[in-house]
């Protein structure tokens, strides 16, 4: 026979699944939130997202090619696009372009490539970028434009977000401050101030449903986070009405974005179902603690980053149930 046969070990067939499919799948799941952000923040949202995605992809390509000198540059796997989108979603829509570029550099450069690129980073790169910007540019990062100003970017009018209102209520000890909060329906749709991707809980939930349906992620992390937050904030609200109601807590700030898209990041979340539930509960707990008792109004990013650090530990101690293990005992 002229042609040589190929020999390899089984299995000889492979699923159609791929890294690209998963990464772009998450991107597709983000489309509803993307559209809502464009609807509410217009040009501002478009500029922020485009800058963020473009600079993330550029930095990944440049670092892999010129600093790490890799032969194969893997910007096409979609992970840089996804990081860019998520970083953009975590920024206010009136943020100047140069700050976004710095954020992207930190996210990709420090958060991802220093550790060796895709699959090696201990922390969620988009969150590293966001938290870096939050502590470096606190003023720019915490003035959120009022939604509905389609045509404005840097000049957009800003206002206090629901999270800031909640913090004020706790600090003053006056429950009536909470009356300034928008209604739950407005919060669900996104008719409120905040980072551009996190305003509409509904759009994010649609994305979550899509990811669950396509088996990109499992339910464990989002559900355990949201349930923990609901129970804890419910208990606080019941003990003292100065703390906002659990429904409001769930629908405000980065809660949905964090629980559905940031905490579920493959690389930085635990491997087993049991571990994922522990991870989710811990994030929920830390978020409520930071939001209620901490200095910052928002605790999601910090909670996720803290738990990212614990992921290797969780992986070491949370083993899956082995086949036949129960009978052994």
């Amino acid at each position: 026979m002229a042609k040589k046969l190929i020999v390899s070990l089984s299995p000889h067939v492979h699923t159609r699944d791929s890294v690209q499919r998963n990464m772009y799948g998450v991107c597709i799941a983000l489309i509803p939130a993307l559209l809502t952000s464009l609807y509410f923040f217009g040009i501002g949202a478009a500029v922020v997202l485009l800058t963020s995605v473009a600079s993330c992809v550029f930095f990944e390509w440049a670092i892999a090619k010129f600093i790490l000198k890799r032969e194969e540059v893997t910007v096409t796997d979609g992970s840089a696009v996804l990081t860019g989108l998520l970083l953009g979603f975590n920024l206010p829509s009136n943020l100047p372009v140069w700050i976004i570029i710095i954020g992207a550099l930190v996210a990709i450069g420090v958060g991802k490539m220093t550790f060796g690129g895709l699959g090696c980073n201990p922390f969620n790169p988009a969150l590293v970028g966001r938290v870096f910007l939050l502590v470096s540019f606190p003023v720019q990062m915490t003035t959120w434009p009022v939604p509905g100003q389609i045509g404005s970017y840097l000049d957009a009018e800003t206002a206090a977000t629901p999270l800031a209102v909640m913090k004020t209520a706790i600090k003053s000890g006056d429950a009536s401050v909470l009356d300034q909060l928008p209604s739950s329906i407005d919060l669900l749709v996104g008719q409120t101030g905040g980072c551009l991707g996190e305003v509409s809980a509904l759009a994010l939930l649609i994305g979550l449903a899509y990811m669950l349906a396509r088996h990109i992620i499992t339910w464990h992390i989002p559900v355990s986070i949201l349930a923990t937050v609901f129970v804890l904030s419910g208990a606080l609200h019941w003990a003292d009405p100065v703390y906002a109601s659990p429904v409001t807590v769930l629908l405000t700030g980065g809660m949905m974005l964090g629980a559905c898209f940031m905490a579920t990041d493959y690389v930085t979340s635990p491997m087993t179902a049991k571990g994922q539930v522990i991870y989710g509960i811990s994030i929920g707990f830390l978020t409520v603690v930071i939001r209620t008792f901490g200095a910052y109004p928002e605790g999601m990013s910090f909670a996720i980053l803290i738990m990212n650090a614990f992921t290797p530990l969780i992986n070491t101690y949370c083993k899956p149930k082995r086949f036949g293990e129960v009978l052994k005992k």
Binding site: S10, V13, S18, V19, T268, P320
Partner: protein
């Protein structure tokens, strides 16, 4: 619908030959009958060069308890006893028989008539096991473990039920499916023989529900056999794994090695083996032919062939329309657990359940990407292991880490590598690690 609880994947079924009835393959010019057709000690030849043999004649005897005899699949003259490259890729001793005519041993009942247990009330467990052993029957799903050993539970264990493995969860393969459609009564009688041999009152036949015709046919015929129950199972790979099948049918999990299925009271036999047991006991026919699925997307005529042991695979491919020009890989067995053959003249063995031809493009692997820790391998593993961890530990030669994390429990089903979005060679590494750790454990126990 019943199935096993932990892990599992669902590869595309591609049962191309499901509608193709079993037909006899032609006799080869020369049959190459390997002496290594089963797990355990190889058989010892009892014929010499120049001896005349008939179909069904003993040509090699069992060497020890975990070993089986081998019978001639053709009539003719022994040409030589020499090494042949078999499915493993290595040269192993085999008996070469030049075929002349097709003369069967007179003791074999060649009629198609059904013989039931009622016709032979004198059969005892000992006689059944003795006949099975003399007929050289091994596990025909691919494991090739001597059948009589499985039918003789070790001391201190008690069988409670017999499970017939008619799952055929490997994509492409349809040999068992066709056998059930064409020989349902024989299989049911065979099941009763297995039940009688191990002394149990309950038999299950587990069939995946992608074979509704086989389920309904057997469900109708089983009415005459009140102790046998047909169990339809949800389609999930690797349900045909012995441990997974027991879990799916009875809900019991076999503990980690060295525990055996018998420790949870189950005796599992493949449906092909069951048919062979029927033929051995009721028809005095030793195991010298088997049904093999010859299939592939580019093959002109995917078929289920009844082939004599020792027929070269190349001849079977010719009978199904010839080797497609684009063939990149030839696999002995199914696509999930089968072995890629190094050349096409490998002879059919007792454990050859299929022959699969993959095109050049299908045969190549995707380029591996970095592990993104998506944990899909962890949720796919039917043994509840962490394949990503075992693969890394093996490639870094951390044998102690691999052993602690249960690498010896791996059944090499390939679910992890199948499901990996990064197309990483997980099982390549795990298999290597498992082999090394097993060797280390043996060395330690030997001390």
């Amino acid at each position: 619908m019943k199935t096993f609880k932990i892990g599992g994947v669902h590869p595309s079924e591609s049962k191309l030959s499901a509608k193709s009835p079993i037909r006899r393959a032609g006799l080869p010019k020369q049959a190459v009958i390997s002496l290594y057709q089963h797990i355990g000690a190889p058989a010892k030849p009892v014929v010499a060069k120049g001896d005349e043999v008939k179909v069904g004649m003993l040509i090699a005897e069992a060497d020890g308890f975990v070993s089986v005899p081998i019978h001639s699949s053709v009539s003719g003259k022994v040409n030589k006893i020499d090494a042949v490259v078999d499915a493993s890729g290595y040269r192993r001793p085999a008996i070469f028989v030049d075929v002349e005519g097709d003369e069967w041993e007179s003791s074999i009942d060649q009629s198609e008539d059904l013989v039931t247990l009622a016709d032979h009330p004198e059969l005892t467990p000992e006689t059944i096991i003795g006949k099975v052993k003399a007929a050289g029957i091994v596990g025909m799903g691919g494991a090739t473990f001597p059948c009589h050993v499985k039918l003789s539970p070790p001391k201190g264990t008690k069988a409670e039920c017999v499970i017939i493995n008619a799952v055929e969860c490997e994509p492409y393969l349809t040999a068992d499916h066709r056998l059930m459609l064409e020989k349902p009564d024989e299989i049911l009688v065979g099941t009763e023989l297995v039940m009688k041999a191990v002394g149990v009152e309950k038999g299950y036949i587990g069939i995946e529900n992608n074979k509704p015709d086989a389920i309904s046919l057997l469900a109708e015929r089983v009415k005459q056999h009140p102790h046998i129950e047909i169990v339809p199972l949800q389609v999930k790979y690797p349900q045909g794994g012995e441990k997974q099948l027991i879990a799916a049918v009875t809900g019991r999990e076999v503990p980690a090695p060295p525990a055996l299925p018998i420790h949870v009271g189950a005796v599992v036999q493949n449906v092909g083996t069951t048919f062979a047991i029927y033929e051995a006991v009721m028809k005095n026919k030793p195991l010298f032919e088997r049904v093999i699925t010859v299939t592939g997307k580019d093959l002109r005529q995917p078929s289920n062939l009844l082939a004599r042991i020792g027929t070269p695979m190349s001849q079977l491919i010719e009978e199904c329309g010839g080797l497609p020009g684009d063939t990149g890989k030839v696999i002995g067995g199914g696509p999930m657990m089968g072995k890629a053959l190094m050349h096409l003249d490998v002879p059919v063995c007792k454990g050859s359940s299929g022959l699969l031809l993959l095109g050049e493009r299908e045969a190549r692997r995707k380029a591996p990407q970095p592990c993104i820790r998506c944990a899909k391998c962890v949720s796919a593993c039917p043994m509840g292991l962490e394949p990503y961890l075992l693969a890394t530990a093996s490639s870094l030669r951390k044998w102690d880490v691999a052993e602690e994390n249960g690498i010896t429990s791996c059944i090499e089903c390939g679910s992890c590598q199948f499901t990996c979005p990064s197309a990483r060679p997980i099982l390549d590494n795990v298999r290597m690690g498992k082999a090394t750790v097993m060797a280390l454990i043996r060395a330690r126990n030997a001390k």
